[in-house]
């Protein structure tokens, strides 16, 4: 089994570990034969389609919103979608919406697509209203800044574009952690991503990322709104990166610098 297939299998296993209660409609990477960088920045097959699957999403309408906020419909095949490069670089939003009677659901995931520079900030896409109830990452962890275990992720819950205070949101991870949090008066909520990876190996390449899903629901005028934000999160590099040793090495470098200065001074004195 090659590494890409292993990643796919691990992600599939991670998806299955979400319990039914936590599994509101949400996006997740689909198992693939060729890895495309886990739907993020840094993959090698940049021109390959990025496969995702919509969990618990039968009957949903799907769209891809590009950095300039233009939406194009997306067709799923057995809950799977393959997002081909749009020609525009930067983050895109993969959005699923579904209304059944009095329940309105949405699932949003941000994916990095290679292409020509869009000239747009990802914050414009993140701030753009994509569904009535929406979890906005504040900020979206991206490029060299990933979601890591044992770090905090901040979100703003918005209803019809306005912050929603004192609402409950739930976190569920592919490693089996679930927890609940409440938004503050500004609709903000800080979610500590759990340190719930087992069998941690040294180095980023040796540890497969897992998935987390943040879910929020809200009732208004007899209607119920449910939304999810999903993303990958990785093992915190502190497991193989030591700040203490780093500081000690800087001190060693400083001592070395002091030595070089002293030797230089002696040599100059000898010359004169």
């Amino acid at each position: 089994m090659n590494a890409a297939a292993l990643i796919g299998a691990t992600l599939a296993a991670a998806l299955c570990s979400f319990t039914a209660a936590e599994a509101a409609m949400h996006w997740a990477p689909a198992p693939v034969e060729h890895s495309s960088g886990h739907g993020g920045h840094g993959g090698h097959s940049r021109n390959a389609a990025k496969p995702f699957m919509l969990v618990e999403g039968d009957g949903a309408s799907l769209s891809l919103i590009n950095p300039k906020l233009n939406a194009t419909p997306v067709t799923a095949e057995r809950s799977r979608v393959a997002i081909k490069p749009t020609g525009m670089g930067n983050y895109h939003a993969l959005v699923a919406t579904r209304s059944t009677g009095e329940q309105h659901e949405s699932a949003i995931r941000y994916i990095y697509m290679s292409g020509e520079p869009s000239g747009e900030s990802p914050s414009r896409l993140v701030g753009h209203e994509k569904s009535e109830l929406e979890i906005e990452p504040a900020p979206l962890a991206r490029e060299h800044w990933r979601y890591y275990s044992a770090t905090e992720a901040v979100f703003i819950l918005r209803f019809r574009g306005k912050p929603l205070a004192d609402a409950t949101i739930t976190l569920a991870t592919g490693n089996g952690t679930t927890s609940e949090f409440r938004t503050d008066v500004r609709g903000r909520v800080t979610v500590p991503l759990p340190e719930d990876f087992s069998m941690i190996k040294p180095g980023r390449a040796g540890n497969k990322p897992s998935e987390f899903v943040v879910t929020a629901s809200h009732s208004d005028g007899g209607q119920t709104y449910i939304t999810t934000f999903s993303s990958a999160y990785s093992v915190n590099p502190k497991h193989w990166q030591s700040t203490e040793l780093g500081l000690a090495t800087v001190l060693g470098g400083m001592l070395l610098g002091g030595g070089i200065i002293t030797i230089g001074r002696r040599r100059r004195k000898e010359k004169t």
Binding site: E116, S121, R142, E143, P202, S242, G253, G257
Partner: protein, 342 residues
Amino acid sequence: MPFWKNLSVIRKIVQLLAFVFLVYGSVVVGFYSADKLSGAFPILSCAYDAKTADYCVLIPLQHQFGHRLGPALSAGMFSLSVMLPILTTLGTFFILFVVLNKAFCGWLCPLGFFQEVLGMIGQKLRLNRVESLDPKLVDRIRPVKWLMLGFLVLLLPLASGLGFVAPELGDPFCKICPSRILTSLAAGQLNQLYIDTSSAGYMALSIIADTMFGLILVLSLTMRQPFCRICPMLALHAVFKKVGLVKLSKKYTPRCDKCGLCSKACPMDIREIHTSKETDILFPDCTLCGRCVEFCPDEDVMALKYAMIPVFVSSPKYFKARNLAQRIWEGKKVAPRRMKDA
């Protein structure tokens, strides 16, 4: 001398503003390059700094060589579309570079500014400073910047992409870059100051990075611009230096042979600015700081020009005032007739 007439003070103010913008600018323009200007800034402004407003060209360049060109060549799928991101990055760099030429080093680079601030602290602490390095040592150091550019920025990332060397060497310059540590520390992040024990390669690179950062902290107190001398950005700038709009020019006179204050003032120890009889004296190591023009005592001999228009020209009057200001700054006895410690 009023500070608004002192070119060095003006430059320090510009450097400070650039430092604030490049280290903390996302507070104004959006989180972590969210509203980045180019992703191809011709200075060491690190992408690992979560608050930066824009970042250095060297990280996309290494990634494009390592993640795109290398694998494409390896798979025999070389095409214009493979080269397009590299050309876009270099094109953006080129456009920005034309505007300010090598002045990006002397006026905007956060690491250059940091080293100058440490140098000022060293002066105030009255540490025994080395104002000019031995010419032989300078000659030995000069090729290092080209090796840094050739091996660390271009060849090793490409070799990594081709599978010839370990993935650790996909962005080797960033792994050892002291500006990565400096700017992330300045932004309140400790996450770039580490020893990575995940592999021998990562450990070696992180030891080099941290040791070099420690060396810079100490050496900058007693010598001028220690890292700038080996910076690959200096070499990259040198490749394009002819097209930049900012120029350093000289009208040679026989008095130049007896003087040499310009080369003494030069923080990069470019002694050729003293001996050269050429008009264009923008040498590969120059950072366009303008100190040589400040400390030239003769009328209209040296000049900083923008698009052929002189913007700062040497003059005896400025020289005397500047020399006096320098001696006051250094706490020396005021004897403005001759500058010895520019």
